[in-house]
């Protein structure tokens, strides 16, 4: 049985009208029925506050406020109805530096343009199946920037490191006294 998408509300923010229409149409084809569209960040924020969508898909470069500023406002404004809302940031940029910039500003997923329907699908699946934990730290609030989710194993790892280190020291010490020879091992301590 496929996903039930009827109740999932998506806000799409895109300043280029044909692109906004195209993105909404693809989501409609996928089965989403609750779709909202905005042509700029101000309009988007207003719609976001009114409708509290489940997912936001926004373009990065818009004027006068760009997608990154919109994300920051959603994440940090005290009036924001859901600072944890998953956000897909769309951009034509491919450079790793840009993706990191988006990530550091609180995006959940990055969708590179031009995109295919499958690319969009994969990002949505990611949001549904692998929701990200949030991190609240000095200077950052947003999805955990580490992709791999791991349990905290600090003390165990340190113990393992210590064990390996001690083992290595023992091996090294053994290497000093044992010199391998073609016909076996010569013990230099018994000269």
């Amino acid at each position: 049985m496929p996903y039930k998408l009827d109740d999932i509300k998506i806000l799409v923010v895109e300043d280029l009208l044909p692109m906004l229409t195209l993105t909404k149409s693809i989501l409609q084809i996928f089965g989403f029925k609750n779709l909202l569209g905005a042509r700029n960040a101000d309009e988007a924020y207003e719609l976001y506050c009114q409708h509290d969508p489940d997912i936001i898909i926004t373009d990065w470069f818009m004027t006068p406020i760009d997608g990154l500023e919109l994300i920051q406002k959603i994440r940090t404004d005290p009036k924001s109805p859901n600072p944890y809302v998953p956000i897909i940031l769309m951009s034509g940029y491919t450079d790793k530096r840009r993706v990191e910039e988006g990530r550091d500003n609180g995006m959940t997923e990055f969708l590179m343009k031009p995109y295919t329907a499958r690319d969009m699908y994969k990002k949505i699946v990611q949001l549904i199946e692998r929701p990200r934990q949030f991190v609240k730290a000095e200077g950052y609030f947003g999805p955990d920037r580490r992709r791999k989710r791991e349990e905290y194993v600090g003390p165990i790892r340190r113990m393992k490191d210590l064990y390996n280190q001690q083992n290595k020291e023992l091996h090294d010490a053994a290497d000093i006294v044992m010199i391998p020879k073609k016909d076996g091992v010569k013990d230099i301590t018994s000269k």
Partner: protein, 174 residues
């Protein structure tokens, strides 16, 4: 006070990080099973068959790039040059992002090439301006010739030429 009394004090001074568990709200609403493959295929066809005319947008972008090129040639101020470059890069990024969405993957290909190059270089000089001009003229050729696909001979020739001048530039200045 002994040395040991304040041994753990540094832990209080460490920045506090709070982890908030992920919300399962979307999963609860969507359930499981994914989106049927035929709907994804329909989405692909919708992108492929959309009849949005991207040419007026592309023409406006390359016209604006042309204006920025002229401004770049005239200005001596490094901060102004940087700002112009930033604005120009955004327009090239629009060509890259939307050309491919609206049936001009050829446009995306050429623009991606120069976008990657501009992301790597900070030096603004006459040679760099010439490369941006070459890209802009290339896009003009694609528009006038209605060259849409990536493996059209004209796209391939333009890509090769652009790559050649970029390589030459990188060899000379990096």
């Amino acid at each position: 006070m002994s040395h040991d009394d304040n041994f753990f004090d540094h832990l209080d001074e460490m920045p506090k990080v709070e982890f908030i568990p992920p919300s399962q709200g979307l999963k609860k609403k969507a359930g499981s099973g994914g989106i049927p493959d035929h709907l994804i295929e329909r989405g692909e066809s919708f992108i492929k068959d959309n009849n949005v005319d991207f040419i007026p947008f592309a023409k406006a972008y390359i016209e604006d790039i042309r204006i920025y090129i002229e401004q770049l040639k005239k200005t001596q101020s490094a901060s102004k040059q940087k700002k112009i470059m930033h604005n120009m890069t955004l327009l090239i990024m629009q060509l890259k992002a939307h050309g491919g969405m609206f049936n001009y993957p050829s446009m995306s290909l050429l623009s991606n090439l120069i976008l990657k190059f501009l992301e790597k270089t900070d030096l603004i000089n006459d040679d760099l301006i010439k490369i941006i001009e070459a890209h802009n003229n290339g896009i003009d050729i694609l528009i006038n010739g209605k060259v849409k696909i990536e493996n059209d001979v004209r796209t391939i020739a333009l890509e090769k030429e652009l790559q050649k001048v970029i390589d030459r530039y990188l060899k000379k200045y990096t």
